[in-house]
Amino acid sequence: MTTKEITIQTEPFVVNIGPVHPSTHGVFRMRTTLDGEVVVNMEPVFGYLHRGIEKLAEERTYGGCVPLTDRLDYLASMSNNMAYCLAVEKLAGIPVPERAEYIRVIMAELQRIASHLIAVGSFLNDCGAFMTPIVYMIREREKILDLFDMVCGQRLTYNYMRVGGVSQDIPEEFIPALKKFLKEMPGWINEYDRLLKQNEILLARSKGVGVLTKDLAINISASGPLLRGSGVEWDIRRADPYSIYDRFKFDIPTGTAGDCYDRYRVKVEEMRQSLRILEQALEGLPAGEVRSEVPHLVRPPAGEAYGHIEAPRGDLGFYLVSDGSIAPYRFHVRAPTLINLTALNDMMRGWKVADLIIIFGSIDICLAEVDR
């Protein structure tokens, strides 16, 4: 008697996750080929948020491009401003006064904490913790946004830094408020750790999931927490120091396995290191003017310059080419999130649909910067 083998014919089907989806952080489409629950292939499609910032910048003055940079990664506007101003100052050889440097560092590190709060909160939201962690973290972020409001009157797109310094000095009530924040924040980060760090379900969902190996991370030019989560100790603040970062003592947290859990831990530890830098910067804040004498229409000499910083999402750089006129000839943004997305397919293959969302959340992108 022969046994007949009955095989059920299955075929993989293509599914679109996004562009309108509560868990893709922005308008992002993933064309996933699924075999049952397992992801076989994933193709990212973006460009829904392309506004042509690089072309727009060619028609604006150097000073007028600063608001454009705000809208790149709107969750970390101060860092964008800083990177751009750095690039222009390199191009035109403009010095920045001491007080402005310290203020810039304070703003950049506060921005890093705010951005990481949102990144960690939405990562946990994707894990299914239904809003509780993100609401707690937004509560802390509100305090940072109040500080920014005090300084420049804005809560999201600050337009605070200028070529040659910052636009205005910090008001009197800023420093006591900042001191109060610095006293309370370590307690809050400890509370998040107490609730989440060893949570069994979080560990089960994110440990070992979406691994990015060290070699692949370097090959795809990854940067930021994605690169450091994979074990590469590369932080622009240490590798290629800009502004006055070489004066501050801080550690660079790295992960070991390159999975989602490590990236989450790297972000939390970076928040702690930012608090450390903030304390040192606050101590050393000198008196003085906050902006050097720069003409309203800056005309840098013909040439090119590349200025990059360690933004919360990675290595953000601005490549500027000048032809001696008041507008940049070429304005290119080295978008860390666009480049970090290169390995998305490799990281997602073989995992299930539920893991897809978690892996995507752990890379922490901002679509406005991907599309520009």
């Binding site: 299914g128 509780t132 069994e200 299930k352």
Partner: protein, 362 residues
């Protein structure tokens, strides 16, 4: 048997009793569901350091009323290629069993609709009918993703039935009867103290069966399959939504009756104790939802088969041995023994079993 249930002071005959109680149960279930919706939203909000609904009526008490009105006046859209009869019937099949369970739950000393002497069996059987409604919804919608969601649901419910029922057998053995009324009357000390492991297993299993966090994969909005109720709108969706809270109410009521001592308690009147205990259990359910992230489908199944099922069997064995070996001992002596057993077993199992090992190919 019909005449025995009638407490001495109740007016009328069997049919009057039935009519009064049916109305009471209907009103109780619907009102409690509305109260639970409000309570969940406020409690969850306060735990998340925000306010929750506070506009509609004092403390937002009329929020569920507003929600129900909204759901009632929405357009009822049926997909053109859906199976019309099954599509219409599914919410009914999902909601009605949740109400039917209350026929055997004692509200106060001796007051319930029918004191079936197979009460627990009736409860377990009827609450499984809800799953049928879910599958009907997934099938009739003529939508690949809702069918996938419904299949997941069925797989998880079937897996969790076994540890849930097994954990109830311990209680049944201690009380010596399947009738819910008798079980409440046998609880001189609440069975949660005597059967801690059983309570734990039942609670986790029941949470998984009613799709509450951390097991709410079916209604997870962070996945492509938004669940079996993708194609539902209007009052049919409202019925599914109510059914979810009604099932939570059922779980709370069963836990109260079987483990917490039902309506028994000093000082306060019986029915008030019942309501207080049900509310407390529901608060714990909401608390868990606010605190814990979600598991994945293969981890869910692994939890049922590798963690809950063996522990349920061992619990059954231990309880049976205790009853056999010490038939007349006071239950108070069993309490520390069972607690010790529970702690040892849970620690041992969690060393051997980690959620992340459940990488089953579904």
């Amino acid at each position: 048997m019909a005449m025995q249930m009638l407490p001495p002071g109740w007016p009328g005959n069997f049919w009057a009793h039935w009519a009064i109680f049916a109305v009471i149960i209907l009103v109780f279930v619907l009102l409690s569901v509305m109260a639970f919706i409000w309570f969940e939203r406020r409690a969850m909000a306060i735990m998340q350091s925000r306010l929750g609904p506070n506009r509609v009526g004092p403390f937002g008490l009329f929020q569920p009323v507003a929600d129900s009105l909204k759901v009632l006046i929405k357009e009822d859209i049926v997909p053109s290629r859906a199976d019309k009869l099954v599509h219409w019937l599914a919410p009914v099949v999902a909601f009605v069993p949740a109400m039917m369970v209350f026929a055997v739950v004692p509200f106060r000393g001796g007051a319930l609709l029918a004191d079936l002497n197979v009460g627990v069996l009736y409860v377990v059987a009827i609450s499984s009918v809800t799953t049928l409604g879910v599958f009907m919804a997934g099938w009739a919608s003529n939508n690949k993703y809702s069918l996938l969601g419904a299949m997941r649901q069925i797989a998880s419910v079937v897996s969790y039935e076994i540890p849930v029922v097994l954990s109830l057998v311990g209680v049944i053995m201690l009380a010596g009867s399947l009738s819910l009324q008798q079980i409440v009357q046998a609880q001189d000390i609440p069975f949660i103290l005597v059967q801690p492991l059983g309570f734990l297993l039942f609670f986790i299993g029941a949470l998984a069966e009613i799709n509450r966090a951390p097991f709410d994969l079916m209604e997870a909005d962070s996945e492509i399959v938004a669940g079996f109720n993708i194609e539902y709108s209007g009052m049919k969706f409202g019925l599914f939504f109510l059914a979810e809270y009604a099932e939570a109410l059922v779980v709370a009521a069963i836990v109260t009756t079987l483990f917490l001592g039902g309506w028994r308690g000093p000082l306060l009147p019986d029915w008030l104790w019942f309501l207080v205990k049900v509310g407390a259990v529901f608060f714990v359910i909401v608390w868990i939802r606010t605190t814990v992230p979600r598991v994945r489908i293969d981890q869910l199944m692994a939890l049922a088969w590798k963690f809950l099922f063996p522990l349920a069997l061992i619990n059954l064995l231990v309880t049976a041995v205790e009853i056999l070996v010490w038939p007349d001992v006071s239950l108070w002596l069993l309490v520390p023994v069972n607690f010790a057993v529970m702690i040892v077993l849970v620690l041992l199992w969690s060393k051997l079993f980690k959620l992340g090992w459940g990488r089953v190919n579904v």
